[in-house]
Every structure is written in C-alpha cells, then in structure tokens.
C-alpha cells in the first residue's frame, strides 16, 4: 500500500508542469482559439519528443509501458493549461482501442506511429439517439466482396478533423437480420463517402459530426478479429474517464487557487471579499471538493487495470463524483468572481466551459451513479 509518487512519476510531473507553465498562457489560448486546426502540430511534436505520446503504449510497440497513473499526471497538468492537443483522443482512446482490439499487424503498424507523433487518432462512436449508452450503435457495417461498407451518422467526434485514422464503431449486419456484433473499423481521413462537419468544441479544441455514406473499406479495416468489441470499448472508455477525471482535477485546482486569490484581493464595502464568513466557508467547501476529486480520480487510475466490474465502478464513481464536485467548484468560482466571471475576458470563463464539457463527455453524474449501482448489482442498467 503506497500512494506516494515514485521517483519517475515525480520527474514526469515536474517535466509536464514546467512545460505547461512555460507554454500555455492566456495568449497562447487566445491564439489557438481562433485557429481552425484547434491545436499546434509543433507542440504535438514536442509531446512526442518528451515521450508523453509513448507513455501508455507497450514497450514492444515503441512505447514506455506506463499506466493510468502516469496518464493522470499528464492530464492533470493539461487541465491546468487547457491543452487542446488531441492527447486523449489519440493516446488514451485511439491507441487504447488498437491495443485492446487490434491484430498484431495493426498494432505494429500504428502504435509506433502514435508514439512518435506521426499518427493521430479519433474515436467516432456517439450517435444522437444513443445518448450515453455505449452499446447503442446504429451505424451499419456490411461485409462486401472486397471488404466493408459503412453507413451511418456519428456526433461529437472529438478531434476527428485532426486524425489520420478515425476509429468508427458499427454494427455488423448479421445474416439472419438480427442486430449484429459491435465492431470497430479504421477509416482513413479523406476516405470517399466520409463527410466531416467540423466545429469549435465547448471549452477548447474541436470536434465534428461525421456522415458515412456508402463508405468502402478494405477487409483489413476491421480492428481485430470481429468479436464483439463492447467489452474493449468499455475498458478503454473507463481509462478515458480516469484520464478526464485527472484533467478535471487540474482545472478545479487552478480555478480554486485563482478564486482564493481573487477573494483576498477584491475589495467590497471596504474590505476584502474573503472577510465574509459566507465566502470563507464556501472556499473551505471548494477546497474540500478539490481534495475529494483528487482522491477519487487517483482511485480510478489505480483501478484502471482491475477486473471489469471493479474497474467500471471505480471509473464511473470517479466520473460521477468529480462531476458533482467540479460543478460546485466551477459555478462558485464564477460566482465569486462576480460579473467578470461571466465574461470571456478572464481565464475563469474558459476553465468553466472546459469543466462543463468534461461533465458532458461520456455522460454526467446521474448516468455514472446509475452505472455504478447497476455494476454493483443494485438496479437494472436501464433504470
């Protein structure tokens, strides 16, 4: 039992903290907000050089073989910097899906490229009618003579515009007409029939809606052997939840720090805001929420490779709890910044939007408390 950082983890933290502090200031964010790409390829290259893109990839594929705790260290700092580079999409989710589902050849072909920064990935899974039900996919894949044909609509495809390969989930039509297995397909950017509608994403970065109309793919576009991919998707999304939780912790902490400082400096009625007992207690509660979020995010990371029920409960528990805590810290940070908090003039507004996006991604607190209960055998999953 030891929750102290190892020496390597401490070094990683110092390195990423330093990089973020030096690179991601408000000026950088303002520049990249207007950028149609939404992130900087030069910085992506630096990530590669610093080894961060290789972190969770197995050593045999050019990675460093690190785990969710290390990903969390990186993501927490990324939260503080409001980093918009497609790290989660590419390294945590994309590479994660390939590692979980891919054939040996696919892993060999792609994972080293992720690690060296030459391949970015995106996961196209959500559909409007599915809300946050990972099993609900209507996009259809049909086996054809020379490969596959995909048809369907995806929404909220994070970083889709920046990806060399988009991993698209689809139901493989079964011979007897029943709903088929959930499978994953590698769809190269620019494939005919693939239409991206790109947009600015709440809280920074970009996302897109994706139409697949008669998209033809080669036979080896299927990721893995064609067995149902839902368990692997759940495993990877659980790791994404842990990573997002760490990112949220970074944001919460900096919002709290900024708010604490602001209430000490800002004068009203002849004394600092922080002289008000109501505000002092609110800040105490915010500090508590930040600390709780830190604990439960760490738990999700430490449990990221546990058996599916324990892993899923830890991940959903963390998403749900951090969602609640983040909402409190974010809303109170804006509230205590007063009118300036509800403008685009201060960073606090940017952080606020990023936490709102966090709460939305993969479903909010209610959804994940329900999953936590269902995985614990307490209620039917549909309730």
């Amino acid at each position: 039992m030891d929750l102290n950082l190892s020496d390597e983890q401490r070094l990683l933290r110092e390195s990423v903290d330093r990089f973020i502090a030096e690179t991601y200031d408000a000026d950088h964010r303002r520049r990249s907000a207007g950028d149609p790409l939404g992130f900087s390829p030069a910085i992506w290259k630096q990530f590669a050089d610093l080894g961060w893109l290789a972190l969770p990839i197995a050593e045999e594929y050019g990675g460093l073989g690190a785990g969710a705790v290390e990903t969390g260290i990186v993501m927490e700092a990324f939260g503080r910097g409001l980093v918009s580079e497609p790290y989660l999409s590419t390294v945590v989710i994309g590479a994660g899906l390939i590692a979980e589902c891919g054939s040996e050849a696919q892993k060999q072909a792609m994972l080293p490229k992720v690690a060296d920064g030459s391949l970015r990935l995106s996961f196209a899974h959500s559909e409007r009618a599915a809300r946050f039900d990972l099993a609900k996919v209507e996009t259809a894949a049909m086996k054809v003579a020379d490969g596959w044909r995909l048809d369907g609509h995806k929404i909220a495809v994070i970083d889709g515009h920046a990806a060399g390969q988009i991993i698209v989930s689809a139901r493989v039509a079964s011979d007897d007409g029943t709903a088929g297995k959930l499978s994953l397909f590698l769809v190269p950017a620019g494939t005919p029939g693939l239409t991206l509608r790109d947009y600015a994403r709440l809280g920074g970065g970009r996302a897109c809606n994706l139409d697949l109309a008669n998209v033809s793919l080669a036979a080896d576009a299927l990721l893995g052997d064609g067995s149902d991919a839902l368990p692997q998707i759940e495993a990877v999304v659980d790791r994404a939840l842990a990573a997002l939780g760490a990112e949220a912790v970074g944001i919460m902490q900096i919002m709290f720090d900024m708010t604490l400082e602001y209430t000490k400096v800002r004068q009203q009625f002849g004394r600092p805001l922080s002289a008000n007992q109501v505000i002092r207690h609110r800040l105490a509660d915010m500090a508590m929420h930040c600390d709780e979020a830190r604990s439960i995010a760490l738990r999700a990371a430490v449990m990221a490779d546990a058996e599916p029920v324990a892993r899923g409960r830890a991940a959903s528990g963390a998403k749900a709890k951090i969602g609640k805590s983040a909402r409190f810290v974010a809303e109170q940070s804006v509230q205590l910044h007063g009118a300036m908090g509800v403008t685009e003039e201060l960073d606090i507004g940017s952080y606020f939007k990023r936490l709102l996006a966090f709460d939305t991604l993969f479903g909010g607190s209610a959804h994940h408390y329900r999953r936590h209960a269902a995985l614990g055998g307490r209620t039917p999953p549909h309730a």
Binding site: R131, R201, L202, Q268, G338, V342, E344, A357
Partner: protein, 398 residues
C-alpha cells in the same frame, strides 16, 4: 379561495390572446426563442414595443395619465402570463420599467413630456449606467464624476456591464456630483444622450459568447443640467425607488414555465434520443416544475394581497433569490438534455440570422449559451450573497 379568473378577466385574457395572435410574427417568435439572453435585440424588441404602443399597452405598469393602460394586478398577471406562453420578445425594460417610473415619479414636467412618449413609442432606446469597474454589489462606491460648469455637467469616468449600450441612444446614470461623508448622499440621477461627444463604448462578450454588455467611457462629456432628474444629491433615493416600484410586480413564473417547456419539448424529441426516458431527467423536470408551481402560488398570494389593497409584506423580497436559482436550474437541465450536442459551439450572432444550417438542431443552439450567461442571474442586480444579507436584515430583523 380559488385559482380561477373572473368572467371579466377571462374576457381580457382573450383580448390579450387575440392581440398576440395578430401581432406576434413567426419571425419575432423564432428570434425570441433563439436569443440566449434575457434581452431581445432592438430590431425584434422594438417592433413588439410599437405593436403594444398602438394598442395602448406600451407601458403596463405606468399610471393612466402617463400613458399606462390602468390594469388591475390580475390583468397585469394575465398579460405577462400570456406573453410568456406565446414567447413574445422582451421590450426595452431599461426604458419602460426602469427610467420611465423614475421620470414619472421625480422628473420635471418638461422631462415627462419629452421622454415618456418616446419610451412608449419606441423612439428612444435606453441603457442603464449604474455599475462601475470595482463597484460590484457595493454600488454606492461609484466614482464617475459630474462637475458643474455653467448650465452643464461635465462627466468623466466609466460605467460597466451596460446592457445594450451599443444599441441605446440614451442612458440614465448615477453619477457623483459631490463628495459627502455618507457616500450615498453625493450621487445624482442624470439622463445622457449617447451621441454626446466624448462617449465611447467597448464591447464585453459574455461567457456564452453574446455581445450584450459593454463598458462605456466618459471623457469630458457635457450634459445639460436640466437633464438631471430631481434634486442634486438625491440620485440614490431615486435609484432605490426604482427597486421598490418593481417590488410586488414580479411575475416570473410564467416565463420560467415557458423556458421549462422548451427544455421539456427537447427532452421528448428524438433529437435528444428522448432524454425524458432517463428517469433522472424526468424527476428533475418534475422538481423544477414543482418549484415553478410554488413560485406561481407565491406570486398569486402577493397578487391576491395587492388586489385587496393589502401589503404583501416580506414574501416578495424572497422571490428574486428563488427566481434566479430556478432559472439556473432550468438552463442546467437544458444542457443535460441535449447531451453530446452541448459540445457544439456556434460563435455567430444573432442565432436567428445564421447563414447556414448549424451542426445541431436549431432549437438546441441557445441551450448552452443560456446556461453560461445564466450564471449572471445570481450576480447581477445584487449577488445572491448580498440578497441574503438583505433578507436577514430587512425581513428577519437581524
């Protein structure tokens, strides 16, 4: 004790409905629905003001001799409720509900004759110059200074959070005309032509991406002394009168019910994958609906008291707090209802004039900006913290 309206009141209700049916165009209705702010753009809001004025309903709260329609409290209720249900635009409240009553109460005959008709007709568009950078909820600390020079005041300083200053041709402002021991005593209430030389306006984008508020700078701006309302140094009193004028006339439940219906309709649509089938969302919808029912009953209790000439008492002081919280709850539920589509950001404004179809169903567009902008409900006009201080002191006698 009953909740039904009298026969006369039902006739009036029908008159309001007929008026709305004849005057509220589909464009106005759509523009209102697609405005993620409590303030309609003037092209929409003032068109509606002109229609109301043609009917003699340009200023429901004003006395008859100033051009008001002489409604009972129940009639005002019915009017507001029907407008909310139909989704009519908001008019220039800074004119009709704010500066108008102050001019009626304290203005000179010349001021009344000049300004009031122009408010009713929609010829003038007003903004409010109260807050300053650094003043926050401590309004009396304001520093914008008006120095007497002959028949003019010369104004220097800056106002902030000035809603629609970029649309307005007039501003009413609180300015410091004297340094007094009690800060409140040196403040005067003044009417400013926004085209005066020396006024510049800087836009401030809200967190939801809307241009609604501004910072306004005054650089040796000359305003005739006759544009001062009432006595010099009494501006604070007039400002407070304005708050009391609004007291008891608050009819927020109908608008909230309409806002909740928008969210509820979305939740029941396929566009959200029928979010309503999520029991958490269904139950929270009920929670908010009951909160609105509660608010409505409180408003009706106040209205009943007013109808019989009683003082509604402490209860109305508690309403602002709840109204802002319920508004925020509605907007928050909206965000959860639209799920992943809430990640979509539409930077263009106004939303009702987009050149191409957006990436998400149109009716979802205002949802996230409304939530974001709505964080201001508990800040502007005296933060909820200040409101609770006031309730403790004024209502509970602490």
């Amino acid at each position: 004790m009953d909740l039904t309206f009298s026969a006369e009141e039902r006739i009036f209700e029908q008159e309001v409905r007929d008026f709305i049916a004849q005057n509220l165009t589909p464009e106005m209705k759509r523009a209102t629905a697609l405005t993620p702010s409590v303030f309609s753009d003037p092209d929409i809001g003032m068109a509606w003001q002109r229609a109301l004025h043609r009917k003699g309903w340009g200023a429901p709260g004003w006395p008859v001799d100033a051009g008001g329609p002489d409604w009972t409290p129940a009639q005002r209720w019915i009017f507001e409720a029907e407008c909310a249900r139909a989704g009519t635009p908001n008019v220039n409240v800074m004119g009709v509900k704010m500066v108008g009553p102050v001019i009626i109460g304290f203005g000179s005959p010349e001021q009344k004759n000049f300004y009031l008709p122009r408010i009713l007709s929609g010829e003038d568009y007003w903004c409010q110059g109260y807050s300053e950078p650094g003043s926050g909820s401590d309004l009396a600390s304001l520093k914008t200074r008006a120095v007497r020079d002959g028949d003019d005041y010369v104004i220097n300083g800056t106002k902030i959070w000035t809603t629609h200053a970029h649309h307005a041709n007039r501003m009413f402002a609180l300015v410091r005309t004297n340094d007094t021991e009690r800060k409140q005593d040196g403040i005067s209430f003044i009417l400013i032509d926004m085209k005066s030389p020396g006024i510049t306006t800087r836009p401030i984008l809200t967190i939801g991406g809307d241009h609604e508020v501004n910072q306004v700078f005054f650089d040796d701006v000359r305003v005739p002394v006759v544009n001062r309302v009432g006595e010099e140094g009494k501006g604070w009193t007039y400002g407070k009168y304005l708050l009391e004028f609004e007291r008891g006339a608050g009819i927020a439940s109908a608008k909230l019910r309409d806002a909740l219906k928008t969210v509820s309709d979305l939740a029941e649509s396929d566009a959200t994958g029928r979010a309503i089938d999520d029991s958490d969302i269904a139950v929270r919808m009920s929670e908010i609906e009951v909160d609105i029912d509660t608010l409505e009953m409180t408003e009706l209790r106040v209205l009943s008291a007013l109808q019989t000439g009683q003082n509604p008492g402490a209860v109305s002081s508690l309403l602002k707090l709840r109204v802002s919280e319920i508004r925020q709850a509605v907007t928050r539920l909206g965000v959860e209802v639209i799920g992943n589509d809430g990640l979509y950001v539409e930077p263009m404004r106004p939303l009702y004039r987009l050149n191409e179809a957006p990436g998400i169903p149109e009716e979802m567009l205002p949802i996230v900006p409304e939530y974001l902008n709505g964080r201001a409900y508990t800040i502007f006009g005296g933060s909820s913290e200040i409101q609770r201080d006031i309730v403790a002191k004024m209502v509970l006698g602490l």
